[in-house]
């Protein structure tokens, strides 16, 4: 909204009011040069080279390598580890997005009330989000171990413990659990900022008119929360697709390949197997997934936001 206003004021005709003067020249283009050089060196050029290498058999060291066309990609289609990793990546990303935002929204609604502990709760629940993910993942690796605190706690209630990270059917969900534990507070903070931007009067007026809390949520809060929802979904789904640290620390992709994601496979293929070309082909697939998801989400949410406003 502010953006539109600004555009209008900047396009205001200067000539009408005063004797004609040209507005001061725009800031010079060379202001962008330092940022562009750094960006090109670190992101743009290596990414472009990466796309090229994906079509070669480069091993990372040998300057002599051959262009092999689509071989890396066709090999991927026959590689159960790669297909598994792509599936795990999507599953983890969707699960994190749904659960983390669900919990984050409930927490935000709970904190955005008149309870006395609201400020303390906000600070406390957000705290894990600033801690290094690899550190929280190592902490959880112990908690979820066979003799860990989670099994001890379950034992208190007479529930038999499990080998949470060693069971191929459970390990993936434990990764989701750890990420959600760490970042639910992050989603909460963004939802909270959205909730606090809703004028209290609208809410109270609806209450006086006799609409219950559920009705108020879906008719008032949800539409006005659209920008917060957009940002939260973007952050969690893209973060989930790129997930590396937590998988590396919690399971290393195991047991077997049960929790390998595209990112952990990229790392393993490049640095333990020396298959740089294949590894980069995986990175190209990752890029394509991120691009498709971002574009799709942008289109859908943009429409919803427009419809809501």
């Amino acid at each position: 909204m502010t953006l539109d206003l600004q555009k209008r004021s900047s396009e205001r005709p200067v000539a009408a009011a005063r004797p004609r003067r040209r507005g001061p020249a725009a800031p010079p283009w060379w202001f962008t040069v330092p940022a562009l050089l750094l960006f090109a060196f670190v992101v743009l050029v290596p990414s472009a080279r990466g796309v090229y290498y994906a079509f070669t058999d480069w091993d990372g060291l040998d300057p002599a390598f051959a262009v092999i066309g689509l071989d890396n990609f066709t090999a991927m289609a026959d590689d159960p580890d790669a297909l598994g990793a792509i599936w795990h990546t999507l599953l983890i990303a969707v699960a994190i997005t749904v659960i983390q935002n669900g919990i984050g929204l409930l927490l935000a609604l709970g904190v955005n009330t008149t309870i006395k502990s609201r400020n303390v709760l906000r600070v406390l629940l957000f705290a894990p989000a600033v801690v290094t993910p690899i550190v929280t993942a190592y902490l959880w690796r112990n908690l979820l171990g066979p003799d860990g605190a989670v099994n001890s706690l379950l034992g208190v209630f007479g529930i038999e413990g499990k080998n949470w990270l060693g069971d191929p059917g459970l390990a993936l969900w434990m990764i989701v659990l750890v990420v959600v534990w760490q970042f639910a507070g992050y989603s909460m903070v963004i939802f909270l900022a959205g909730l606090q931007s809703i004028p209290r009067e609208i809410y109270e007026a609806a209450a006086i008119d006799g609409s219950g809390p559920v009705r108020r949520f879906f008719s008032i809060v949800r539409p006005l929360l659209a920008p917060a929802i957009t940002i939260n979904l973007m952050l969690s789904i893209i973060g989930g697709i790129k997930l590396f640290d937590q998988v590396y620390a919690l399971t290393g992709g195991g047991p077997g390949h049960a929790t390998d994601t595209i990112s952990t496979l990229i790392y393993k293929d490049a640095f333990t197997l020396g298959e740089f070309g294949y590894s980069i082909a995986l990175a190209v697939v990752l890029t394509a997934i991120v691009a498709v998801v971002s574009a799709g989400q942008y289109a859908v949410l943009n429409r919803n936001e427009k419809a809501a406003s």
Partner: protein, 273 residues
């Protein structure tokens, strides 16, 4: 609506219960970090004879002091560079409507989509050829470039909503573009600079993948890599490992708790950008 009713009390109880569940891992972390390895009682039982021996041993054997200093240098220098070059670039990108400006902006925004895994391997080769593997300056260079798109995005969004009157006045008064930027525009960018500072600091400080690649096999480490190395070295000596984890968390939490208002607002600030 503002009265404290029974329902409010029930909600408060439920929320506190949730917070206790969230805090449970932290309780175990501290509980085991202050426990001697010979104490084999349940991890959730309160440690009876707490000791600080794990901390001094972890500090001495983990090289955590050096890692802490490296992390501080890498984070401070790279974030400073990113803030300077991105705010500078955002100024013409937000003000000019010329083709080159729009094109450049879109090019930089492309960086928001490209996952770093794509650039990481070819860049690894370049850094290796430059002889910078194992040097923390390779990391500074890396983050300085990697964080440009996001930071520029924040600055451009903020600048577009900012009136031009002050900088126009400054230019009419004879200020050059650089002076106008430094003394007129930059001070007005303070709110978004705080947001960019917080978000960049957290992501650079916490990054693990890049230093794992570029520093592996060298004696230079950042905090996340040192912690991972420590876990690899003391495999199942969890009391010691927990002491190391706690040491790495304390500086982060100390900064967080002392600046919590700005930090939380910084994270939420992207919403308005």
């Amino acid at each position: 609506m503002n009265r404290y009713t029974t329902r409010t009390f029930l909600l408060e109880t439920a929320m506190v219960a949730v917070a206790i569940v969230f805090a449970f891992p932290v309780y175990v972390l501290v509980n085991l970090a202050i426990r001697s390895p010979s104490d084999t009682s349940s991890p959730i039982a309160l440690t009876r004879s707490p000791t600080l021996a794990n901390f001094s041993q972890a500090w001495q054997e983990g090289g955590l002091g050096g890692a802490l200093i490296n992390s501080l240098i890498v984070t401070a220098v790279s974030v400073l560079i990113v803030l300077i070059v991105s705010s500078l670039a955002a100024y013409p990108l937000a003000r000019s409507t010329a083709h080159w400006s729009r094109g450049t902006f879109l090019l930089i925004m492309l960086g928001l989509i490209l996952p770093f895994q794509l650039a990481a391997l070819p860049l690894y080769q370049t850094i290796r050829d430059l002889g910078l593997l194992g040097s923390i300056w390779s990391l500074v260079l890396f983050y300085a470039g990697l964080q440009v798109p996001f930071t520029t995005f924040l600055y451009v969004g903020f600048l577009r909503a900012l009136p031009r009157d002050f900088e126009e006045a400054a230019t009419i008064d004879g200020c050059g573009p650089l002076t106008a930027f430094r003394y007129v525009v930059l001070p007005m960018l303070k709110p978004i600079t705080v947001t960019a500072l917080v978000l960049n600091t957290v992501s650079v400080w916490n990054d693990f993948f890049t230093p794992l690649l570029y520093l592996s096999g060298s004696d230079q480490q950042t905090m996340p890599v040192a912690v991972a190395g420590f876990v690899g070295q003391f495999v199942s000596d969890w009391n010691l490992i927990f002491a190391a984890l706690l040491i790495s968390i304390v500086p982060v939490l100390a900064v967080y708790l002392s600046l919590q208002r700005s930090i939380i607002n910084g994270f939420a600030g992207g919403l308005k950008g």
